[in-house]
Amino acid sequence: MARPLINVPATAKRGEVVAIRTLISHPMESGFRHTSTGERIARDIVTGFVATYNGEEIFRATLFPAIAANPFITFHTVATESGTIEFRWTGDNGYSANEQAKITVV
């Protein structure tokens, strides 16, 4: 499936605390469900999320099966300098996705 949905303000004042929203397409199959014939459906979830700001880690999360399908995570960061905020999701079965957003700090 296509790109994650990221919301980072395009511009911010230096030192301003900005909100970042992320939404990614993933079923988050919990591993606790069974098919109608009684077989357990294998777990398939996003387990990790990391955000970096010009290469430096600013936020990291470990996700468990209790996170809803299509994980939505919002957090904050201080706008320190212009540059790129990068996001990376990893998960079961070698899952990995990336996205980035530019921010201009004035």
């Binding site: 499936m1 296509a2 994650p4 990614i24 988050m28 939505f72």
Partner: protein
């Protein structure tokens, strides 16, 4: 999502409906006056409304993004993309979803938006049709639907009358093991609180939409299938003339209401 999970919610609502319908006077089957038409949006919690209203929080937007990518991707023997013929969707597809199902002159019948997209797939792109309730058809339909967000439904084309009448007949007919009609719940008892859930009027304004119960996005036909299973009636096949007729009827019934695609529902 397994059907068992869907029917769990349906079962609970059904029980509530049985109790309520039993306690209420016999069906009047009166249609809802235009001034009293309400989207189920108005019945949702503030949190669920916010999820629909804010694009960056609305999971349905993931399908819009995907649909945009598919719009520009070449496919089929013709090796052409939707954009090759239709250019930019925000202009060319504006208002289109608000008047679907539409009358298809070539076939002399009503065609819904998913059907229309698949006709372009097979006849214009010369590619195999896209499967119902799968990523690609849902994404393209949501992307096209999104271009009508906020625009009023226009279901006035008189050539749709035969489909609308078939849809009305299905909507008001008692069916299934429980001998219920759609209208008993959605025309006669909307606004009644049943086991903590307010019965909606069943408008098609938000589709395709993200349903929390499904944990994914689905079409109006999937929603209709859910209600039919809840009534213990045999669901129709995806893409069937019956579903298109119900859709045409629901759109006529919601004439003038704004499109919400991609909406969010519990």
């Amino acid at each position: 999502m397994r059907e068992g999970v869907i029917s769990r919610r349906a079962a609970r609502l059904l029980l509530a409906a049985c109790i309520a319908l039993g306690a209420l006077p016999p069906s009047s089957q009166a249609e809802i006056p235009a001034a009293e038409r309400r989207s189920s949006y108005e019945l949702m919690s503030a949190e669920t409304k916010a999820m629909q209203d804010e694009d960056s929080a609305n999971p349905g937007m993931l399908w819009v993004l995907d649909g945009e990518a598919l719009w520009n991707r070449r496919a089929g023997e013709a090796d052409r993309s939707c954009a090759d013929c239709h250019d930019a969707a925000p202009q060319s597809m504006r208002g289109v979803a608000a008047r679907y199902p539409a009358f298809d002159e070539k076939r002399g019948t009503a065609v819904d938006l998913q059907g229309r997209i698949n006709l372009c797939r097979t006849e214009q792109q010369k590619a195999p049709p896209l499967a119902f309730e799968r990523q690609e058809l849902l994404a393209l339909t949501t992307y096209v639907g999104r271009q009508s967000r906020g625009l009023p439904i226009d279901a006035s084309d008189p050539r749709l009358d035969p489909a609308v009448e078939t849809g009305r007949e299905i909507f008001t007919r008692r069916q299934g093991q429980l001998n219920l009609a759609c209208a008993q719940c959605h025309d006669d008892n909307w606004g009644q609180k049943l086991a903590g859930i307010v019965m909606p009027q069943a408008h098609p304004t938000g589709y395709p939409l993200y349903r929390l119960e499904w944990q994914t996005l689905g079409s109006l036909q999937r929603r209709l299938r859910n209600c039919l299973i809840g009534m213990r009636a045999e669901p129709y096949g995806y893409g069937s003339a019956e579903y298109v007729a119900i859709e045409a009827f629901l759109m006529r019934r919601a004439h003038g209401m704004p499109i919400e695609t991609p909406a969010v529902r519990p």
